[in-house]
């Protein structure tokens, strides 16, 4: 019976296996990024990015019609531009990262809407660009897997400067010049994960599996390495359980995965070891020393 519910859907149907593979890849790449985003107070960057890519996608559409590759490439370029500009401005002026990003993504969105309206089409370009985890073809799977690999590799390299830059940026400035490149590399990773995530899996999943697992992890670990591990596990578990849920009911796959993640999050808010509400209301007796 358990086997029927938990294993059978994946052995019987190829689209389920592919969806699971995509969910795992997305978790491996996106969850660690999400932890850093949350710690740097950039959790809303996903939404911002979904709008910032519009002019790039619009130009891709103008040049090649409804060609996914052209539009995604355009979207990536637009996303990079916005992220890098925002990063540079926040590092060289007094404007903080979130405000800097907000200004650039709004400008980008306005530009995108203008381009689209000049062309006179009423196709919802962004809608065309956003995919579905149940529709994983070979090419999309490759892209998602590639993302995850690149992300893990780059993160491993920039991990230490990124951590130090997040906790004590002034200190990093006085000991190393690695701060700015690490920061920009991180932003580039964010863009890649988001844009490719949108195209493969839609905005809800791409952003959701970045941010929710980070929120979950916050309640179970006091250490960033531990957080990243928990976030990845939470993301994979949500992906798996969400797909099973969508298989057994009429709930669409993306929302199902996010609903599971949300349930885990609520559970963490209530019962989490670190700052969970129940622990705050009913604290364990204090220790001797």
């Amino acid at each position: 019976m358990i086997h029927d519910v938990l294993i059978a859907p994946f052995t019987e149907f190829e689209f389920m296996r592919r969806a699971l593979a995509a969910a795992i890849a997305l978790s491996l790449g996106g969850a660690p990024i999400g932890v850093f985003l949350m710690l740097r107070r950039m959790s809303l960057v996903g939404d911002a990015m979904a709008h910032a890519i519009l002019p790039g996608a619009a130009i891709g559409f103008l040049l090649s019609g409804l060609n996914l590759f052209a539009m995604t490439t355009g979207g990536l370029i637009a996303g990079f531009t916005v992220a890098i500009l925002a990063g540079v401005v926040s590092r060289t002026t007094g404007l903080k990262e979130d405000a800097s990003l907000a200004t650039f993504y709004l400008a980008s969105l306005a530009l995108g809407v203008t381009i689209v309206s000049i062309k006179g089409t009423n196709i919802d370009l962004l809608h065309v660009l956003f995919g579905n985890i149940l529709a994983m073809d070979d090419q999309t799977l490759l892209v998602v897997a590639f993302n995850a690999t690149i992300t893990l590799l780059v993160l491993a390299v920039i991990y230490r400067p990124l951590v130090v830059e997040s906790v004590d940026p002034l200190f990093l400035r006085t000991v190393s010049r690695a701060g700015a490149p690490a920061h920009l590399a991180f932003l580039a990773l964010v863009v890649i994960n988001l844009v490719n995530g949108f195209q493969a899996l839609g905005t809800l999943l791409a952003v959701g599996l970045m941010i929710l697992p980070a929120g979950i992890a916050r309640f179970w670990s006091r250490d960033i390495t531990g957080m990243i591990c928990i976030a990845v596990i939470a993301a994979i578990a949500s992906g798996y359980a969400g797909l099973v849920l969508s298989f057994q009911t009429k709930v669409p796959s993306g929302p199902a995965i996010i609903l599971v993640a949300t349930a885990l999050y609520v559970g963490s808010v209530l019962f989490g070891k670190v700052g969970g509400l129940i622990r705050q209301i009913f604290p364990a007796p204090h220790l001797e020393a």
Binding site: F13, D137, K250, P252
Partner: protein, 279 residues
């Protein structure tokens, strides 16, 4: 009985309003240059959910004849008629056709069978003659010629279907407009179980469709309303079926599209079906 002199382009041409593009096409073919046809729901429009504009009321008021499909297709019409106050006679083009059922109601898509189309044409011809008897000869001649074209089309369709191996004569589609076509020509249109086209399908929905296609051995998938074309491709890949092209049912296209006339629409559909279902 005497037709009023009308302020039309062709002197003495009859002002006719057709409810939507397919009927408009029939009327043009029967009336030739003796009629001025105005269509309410134009090319690529959705006749099921049309929202009439004030200009439409004027068109009806100025018309000498109104030709509609009937069978519940134009739900928006009664109110429009009321507001326009037009006095022109209304011809229901499906008169005399025994309707199939679609759920609990009558299936309005009767034109999908070419044999029915001939009945449409006959009704329209009678109505035009009654509205403008001076041109009766022209109308009847046109109608006769067009009916012959429809006969040829009918033979074409049957021949094409005969090319398809009998076991392959079924598709899965969210279109519910092909009942008459299926009944007339023997190609089964299977609806995917439990899926509404608007919502995003759950994994269960997709699994059900895949199982359905596999067990019924359906060779082609016509799910273009399904939202994400990549999802349709995935379903086709997993079931070994082909992704069919686009089928047109409720409207003609404009001049630039593949189906600006009824005959071209039927030809397009049958060609799309045979290329998807043939070996």
């Amino acid at each position: 009985m005497l037709a009023f002199a009308s302020p039309a382009r062709a002197p003495g041409a009859l002002e006719v309003v057709a409810s939507f593009s397919i009927i408009g096409d029939f009327v043009k073919n029967v009336g030739g240059d003796r009629v001025n046809v105005t269509t309410l729901v134009g090319p690529n429009g959705d006749v099921h959910v049309y929202a009439p504009a004030p200009a439409d009321a004027k068109k009806i008021a100025d018309a000498k004849l109104l030709v509609i499909n009937g069978l519940g297709l134009e739900g928006w019409l009664p109110r429009l008629l009321q507001s326009s106050g037009g006095k022109a006679p209304i011809t229901v083009a499906t008169n005399g056709i025994a309707p199939l059922r679609l759920g609990s109601d009558a299936d309005p898509h009767a034109w999908q069978s070419v044999a029915n189309a001939k009945i449409y044409v006959a009704n329209i011809s009678d109505a035009l003659v009654a509205a403008d008897p001076r041109d009766a000869e022209a109308f009847r001649a046109n109608a006769g010629r067009y009916a012959a074209e429809l006969d040829a089309l009918e033979r074409e369709v049957r021949a094409a279907v005969a090319q398809i191996p009998p076991a392959h004569r079924k598709v899965i589609s969210t279109h519910d407009a092909f009942g008459y076509f299926a009944s007339a020509y023997g190609i089964e249109f299977v609806a995917p179980t439990g899926v509404s086209t608007e919502a995003e399908p759950s994994a269960r929905d997709v699994a059900k469709i895949i199982s359905q296609i596999k067990s019924a051995k359906i060779p082609a998938v016509f799910l273009e309303n399904f939202g994400d074309p990549r999802l349709v491709s995935r379903i086709a890949a997993e079931t070994g079926s082909k992704v069919g092209g686009t089928l047109f049912s409720d409207a003609l296209t404009d001049e630039k599209g593949p189906c600006p006339t009824y005959i071209e629409m039927v030809r397009h559909n049958i060609k799309t079906l045979t290329s998807a279902l043939g070996n």
